[in-house]
């Protein structure tokens, strides 16, 4: 991570910490449970370990060019149960559904040496893999004011639900979809080509604002999947689909992602009567 990024993170944490010191109430949530609803979007980071291609040549390698994370978008939503062991340490157990996207493009060119007219084909490949996700994280709240920045980290398990793929293609090799030429394949399932299970580590930061009845928050988490996501045994099993028609076969890769999500949580064991929010002077 560059120094600039570190400085920005420190400034943000400091900013929110300062903000929270000025709150009217402090939050008392030791031994309290919350149920949170979260939804947001994510950006994926494919990390290729083995490359595969249908076309084979001595003169050229046919490596796919992967899009940057900003274009690899997806979405997620879910619920999570959180139990506060102390006012600052909590355990989050969740269940969610997330769709991870990643894109790459390939280009091919053939030369007509007689008529001096080349044939080009550029293909943009869009993949979406959806998982049922079970995260488990420990959260550390950095203050006890109404606006609380926090850090969290833990593990997750993902169970694949489905995977789909679509290809957009045109005849101009320029790295982007040429609007007046582009055509699309049908959307096809690549569920069998992806592995059923993944798990990994996740860590992130966020900020919550506590009221008596609701807590609102926004957080970002980076999720690193341990396992490769493509099923090697079924890589070429799609004998009637994309492999020959679009000369496409998936590389082997790991898929990490950064998610940004908004949360709304409610205390589930009598928060009002238990007086979560107390004026700061009494709490002292």
């Amino acid at each position: 991570m560059s120094i600039d990024k570190k400085v920005i993170i420190i400034l943000l944490v400091s900013f929110f910490s300062q903000f929270s010191f000025g709150q009217k109430y402090s939050v008392h949530k030791k031994r309290m449970s919350y149920l949170a609803f979260n939804a947001g979007f994510n950006f994926s980071f494919p990390k290729v370990s083995d490359r595969y291609s249908v076309l084979n040549s001595l003169e050229e390698n046919y490596e796919k060019k992967y899009d940057k994370a900003g274009k690899n978008t997806g979405a997620q939503f879910g619920i999570r149960y959180s139990y506060n062991f102390t006012n600052s340490i909590a355990l989050n157990l969740g269940f969610g559904y997330q769709s991870l996207g990643f894109k790459y493009f390939t280009d091919y060119s053939w030369n007509d040496t007689i008529n001096n007219q080349d044939f080009n084909r550029e293909m943009h490949h869009l993949q979406k893999i959806s998982y049922f996700s079970f995260p488990m994280m420990v959260r550390w709240d950095m203050s006890n004011r109404q606006l609380i920045p926090y850090l969290q980290g833990g593990v997750f398990m993902d169970f694949r639900h489905q995977a789909k793929k679509e290809i957009h293609y045109d005849n101009t090799i320029d790295g982007k979809e040429t609007k007046n030429e582009v055509s699309s394949s049908e959307i096809k399932s690549i569920t069998d080509q992806t592995r059923k299970f993944n798990m990994g580590l996740m860590a992130g930061a966020g900020i919550s604002y506590y009221t008596k009845h609701f807590t609102f928050g926004v957080e970002g988490n980076f999720r690193y999947g341990f396992f490769k996501i493509v099923n090697d045994e079924n890589r070429y099993s799609d004998l009637t689909g994309f492999a020959l028609q679009y000369l496409d076969v998936l590389d082997q890769l790991k898929l990490s992602n950064l998610n940004i999500q908004f949360t709304v949580s409610i205390p589930i064991n009598h928060s009002v009567t238990m007086n979560i929010l107390r004026r700061s002077k009494y709490y002292k």
Binding site: N111, D112, M157, Y236, S237, T240
Partner: protein, 398 residues
């Protein structure tokens, strides 16, 4: 306090499930990517058109592929066991008209081709280290070679004798340096234009073949005979024994696999229709017409494309396997238990890209390797391979 107990129990259960799945997931991690694949061997020149002819697995578990390109020119291609290209070689232009099949002798691979000017036969040896092919034998007596069959002890070459309008068959010894026997049948008409179209890939490609019964008492060849495209039975001395005549040049047999005891698996064509019979008795001394052989019609298949029939063991059961091309340009694999007329399984390969059957073989790892011609982008004819794993094969016939 009670609420806390419930929370602790819930958390404990969740963590237990997590730990269990963590451990379980670490146990299964098997990757065997080389067991199945699809490869298309690319060539940048749009004007280069390939026609794969034959394929053979090499001692390093790779594959050697013999092809024709731009008509009768010869191309060799070597892959590793994952189907990735290792080397390729275009033979000098004096060597033309490679004929199916590749021959293996003591670990070396050979093929038969023709001199572009003298029309006589060469036996070429593949030099895998030098990544080329070199002349092994010249056979001036054999002009217009059409097909070669390796019986592992003898080699048979079928040819067209232009001077006398005859189809010839020559038996070479195992070392392929001597002609041991020869035989001929009369065509009674000049078919050189058909032969030239066949050799140059400019017209109909006739399904020439040579085969030998397991008892080695008959040599069967499909070729020109008596104004037609016929299947001729020759005895062990290469003398005429019997014939199944085609409907002039628009009918006959595409492929034949002798099963022993005068039973055969065969594919025959009649004009635009293709027929299979995986278990039929033929009389080697009969003089009959091919259309009299009972067979089941496969209207969806293309009779102009090669049909291949091989005996393959899958999951400890012997199958007669047909590879053919459909009129909609798919490949079709048909599996029949040996000795049965009942289809056990049919598998179509390909969909939008035109594929044409060229060769197939069981691989050392129990899978099935298919050599095909793929028309990439609907325009360029390229050599392609489709490898099915042993598990996929077993799944098909299950």
């Amino acid at each position: 306090m009670r609420t806390n107990n419930i929370s602790y129990k819930l958390i404990a259960k969740f963590m237990f499930v997590f730990a269990f799945v963590f451990i379980l997931s670490g146990c299964k991690d098997k990757y065997k990517p080389e067991e199945s694949f699809i490869k298309v061997y690319d060539e940048k020149d749009i004007n280069k058109s390939y026609f794969p002819l034959s394929m053979h697995q090499t001692s390093d578990d790779g594959y050697l592929i013999l092809s024709a390109y731009n008509g009768w020119n010869i191309h060799l291609l070597k892959t590793d066991k994952k189907g990735d290209l290792i080397w390729k070689f275009d033979l000098p232009s004096k060597y033309v008209n490679a004929v199916p099949n590749l021959i293996e002798r003591n670990g070396d691979l050979f093929f038969v081709c023709m001199d572009a000017v003298g029309l006589f036969t060469y036996i070429m040896q593949v030099d895998e280290i030098g990544k080329q092919a070199t002349e092994f034998q010249q056979i001036p007596q054999i002009q217009y070679p059409m097909y070669v069959f390796d019986n592992e002890s003898e080699v048979y070459i079928q040819n067209y004798i232009r001077a006398t309008y005859q189809t010839g068959i020559f038996e070479l010894n195992g070392d392929m340096d001597q002609i041991q026997k020869s035989g001929t049948v009369q065509i009674f008409t000049d078919v050189e234009d058909k032969v030239v179209d066949h050799l140059n890939y400019t017209g109909k490609r006739f399904p020439f073949f040579v085969s030998v019964t397991p008892e080695k008492d008959y040599i069967i060849m499909s070729g020109f005979n008596n104004y037609s495209f016929s299947t001729i039975f020759m005895n062990a001395n290469l003398n005429f024994s019997g014939v199944y005549n085609g409907a002039a040049f628009d009918g006959g047999l595409n492929a034949l696999l002798p099963l022993g005891d005068k039973t055969f698996s065969l594919a025959r064509f009649s004009f635009s229709n293709l027929y299979f019979n995986p278990n039929v008795s033929l009389d080697p001394s009969a003089i009959d017409i091919a259309e009299s052989i009972p067979a089941q019609s496969h209207a969806e298949l293309d009779p102009q494309s090669p049909v291949l029939i091989k005996e393959i063991m899958i999951d400890n059961e012997v199958y007669v396997v047909y590879l053919a091309s459909s009129k909609s340009n798919q490949l079709m694999l048909s599996f029949y238990p040996k000795g049965s007329n009942e289809t056990r399984a049919v598998k179509y390969l390909g969909q939008s890209v035109p594929l044409r059957a060229c060769d197939f073989a069981k691989t050392n790892d129990g899978g099935l390797m298919i050599l095909t011609r793929a028309t990439v982008m609907g325009s360029f004819n390229r050599i392609a391979t489709i490898k099915l794993s042993e598990e996929e094969l077993e799944e098909i016939v299950k």
